[in-house]
Symmetry: C2
Subunit: 144 residues, 2 copies
């Protein structure tokens, strides 16, 4: 996905990790929560139901498999999975790992306080961990 | 779905509308936002990825089709679709219609202010509208 195809606010708040079959996978630059974004490579799409049925299935396949593996890797209490889009209309799905007692617990993470950015070493380390995780998953539609 | 199978907090905050192929459909008792809940009739399930693949596809089919029709019926600006579960572990998916300038806009609706309950006439009217909407959709897996 070309950088220009990602909404500039999403691009400013997150780092690209890799391209999945449908989505660009990004890491939100906020150490308060392990937080991934899935952005389908489709133009002019704002709602999940704007995608065709096959793309919807693929989006949820990527979200579900990465969400499960990410939760297991980090050891969180709950996955928050959401498509909101009140601020940024470009369709994006949040995968946020929550722990009891985290900065917003038990409330939602959006709009609460200020992000605490990763330093560059932490960022590279988390990116490598997520990349390794994704490589172990079968994300292509025909492999499901 | 037996009343006893719905978490008592979800049951206290929402009204049953109908049973879909997978989920019980409920209306959140909060006139600030047109807000539906989908609760899969599966025991011991907290995360979307705890469902098997067929159930996951059916959950998103129900969420997507109802979300699209509900948004068109009400005329909202954005659908917020989310599975959070920080407070109530029983798997439930929120379909919240948002309008610019609504009580929480552009923030998330969860944990913001106090619900404004429907009166009984409003409740019956909204329930009838949503029931009519659902009857016009093809929600069975084999019809997709």
């Amino acid at each position: 996905m070309d950088k220009a195809e990602v909404d500039e606010r999403l691009a400013a708040d997150s780092y690209p990790i890799t391209e999945l079959p449908l989505c660009q996978l990004r890491l939100m630059n906020d150490t308060r929560y392990p937080w991934l974004l899935l952005i389908p490579r489709r133009r002019g799409v704002s709602e999940v139901f704007d995608l065709d049925e096959a793309d919807q299935q693929q989006l949820w396949r990527e979200a579900s498999r990465i969400g499960r593996a990410f939760k297991a890797m980090i050891g969180a209490d709950k996955l928050n999975l959401a498509s909101l889009g009140n601020v940024v209309p470009q369709l994006h799905v949040h995968l946020v790992l929550r722990r009891e007692g985290d900065a917003a617990w038990p409330g939602p993470v959006w709009g609460q306080g200020s992000p605490r950015p990763y330093d560059l070493d932490e960022l590279a380390a988390m990116r490598d961990r997520v990349l390794a995780l994704v490589e172990g998953l079968a994300l292509e539609a025909q492999e499901s």
